[in-house]
Symmetry: C2
Subunit: 264 residues, 2 copies
């Protein structure tokens, strides 16, 4: 593509993502939203609830200098919620009680007590932990849960920490981050169109994919075989920036015609 | 845990995993199987269909010296299938036509032609590509698709390349790899038991999780809030090696009693 890519990276934290308990739907959702907004997620890293492992992954990601780094999971009140501590360590910053985060958490537990969900709203050390953010952070409001998200910047990389609970992650992304992401993306955004091809195996499509990409620069083709080569059904994705929509449609038309010729 | 961990890593290759098109079920499935067998997946890395990105991820994983490195995706016949080339580059090896892989691919296309799925079974360069493996590789038989898996070793790390099509990945894992994995794992294997807790918020459970882990060494507890702290439903996972099954059950009993005390 001619324009410089808007590169994003994702780090997902959680043992449950690496031992078969949980399917990483957060990554998929984040990637879809970022792609629509024009960002290219270049790499995702999944690590366990281990302070060193998280800090290492963060340091490595920062060295690759993405525009945005999204980290999900590990913001809660329990012993295995270590993300903010790890981020602070990776950045050489200290954790500091954040006034705004403190207030929102305090209010939250008062509400929960009033609603009868908990007996005692006092801010135990486990609850206070969620208000201790790396120095220089801005808390991101969580409308559907307790732990706030976190936004901070290091050497030009915007770092975001989000809760691992999907609806909290989605809430903060949509309400707190989307406007910022739109601002740094401008008119970018990708389109994906799919074409269903039957009766031609993938290996036979391969040269035609390359030919079409050469002819329509800026349009990227990717084939997805459905159930191995024995059943010759393939879904072909046509991907282009929004500004190249016309070219994308032309590429699809050209490709379809050539498929008919092969089949004839 | 007292014994040395059997560490595995996973690299998943594919643009579709990083732009929202595909949920990474392969990672979840692999992690579940590896965990049952006693392996700890320490990190997973997802990269795009980019030669440099894949090679870099492979080199980085090798430096961490896992016992096993599983790479999925990018073994097929199209332009964006670059995994074997990237692995060869990362290892400083050349790609070489493998006799056994060649034979299985040749046979495959003859069968497809006989079955009327394709017209021409000749081995085009796209089809031949799947038989070109990094020097020193052993092809792994793929019973349900065309591209064989690949097994090779570098500085004590067992490297496995698997197709990204889930049923092909599963087939090769179950039939070709399971016996090898069982051999290197011995009597290892993890147990996971879940406990459903209602009426106690996660921040209140937090100190009890730590207390129980201290009391029952070798048993790991992890809480999973269901729908934020407002609804106080939490699933607590109890994880231990198979040999510690008794201890795991005792920990669950202890934990349940303490929960009752908190609620009372």
């Amino acid at each position: 593509m001619p324009r410089k890519q808007l590169v994003a990276e994702v780090i997902n934290v959680g043992n449950e993502l690496l031992d078969g308990r949980t399917i990483n739907t957060n990554l998929n959702w984040l990637c879809g939203k970022l792609s629509e907004l024009g960002y290219v997620v270049r790499r995702a890293t999944i690590v366990r609830d281990d302070l060193n492992d998280i800090a290492k992954a963060v340091r490595e990601a920062l060295r690759r200098k993405p525009m945005w780094l999204f980290i999900s999971g590990g913001l809660g009140p329990t012993h295995d919620d270590k993300t903010l501590q790890a981020v602070a360590r990776a950045l050489g910053k200290r954790l500091k009680l954040d006034k705004e985060a403190f207030e929102s958490i305090r209010r939250r537990y008062l509400e929960l007590a009033e609603a009868g969900v908990i007996k005692d709203p006092s801010l135990t050390k486990e609850r206070l932990k969620m208000a201790k953010l790396p120095e220089g952070s801005k808390p991101l409001r969580n409308r559907v849960g307790t732990a706030p998200g976190v936004l901070l910047e290091k050497s030009g990389v915007k770092i975001v920490c989000l809760p691992g609970v999907p609806k909290e992650l989605m809430d903060i992304f949509e309400n707190e981050l989307r406007p910022l992401l739109r601002e740094t993306a401008g008119d970018r955004g990708f389109l994906i169109q799919q074409l269903f091809v039957e009766g031609v195996v993938e290996s036979r499509l391969a040269p035609l994919l390359v030919e079409t990409m050469k002819r329509f620069k800026g349009v990227y083709l990717k084939s997805n075989p459905k159930g191995a080569e024995t059943v010759s059904q393939v879904i072909v994705d046509f991907i282009a920036e929004k500004k190249d929509e016309k070219k994308l449609l032309e590429a699809m038309e050209y490709f379809s015609k050539r498929i008919q010729e092969i089949k004839a």
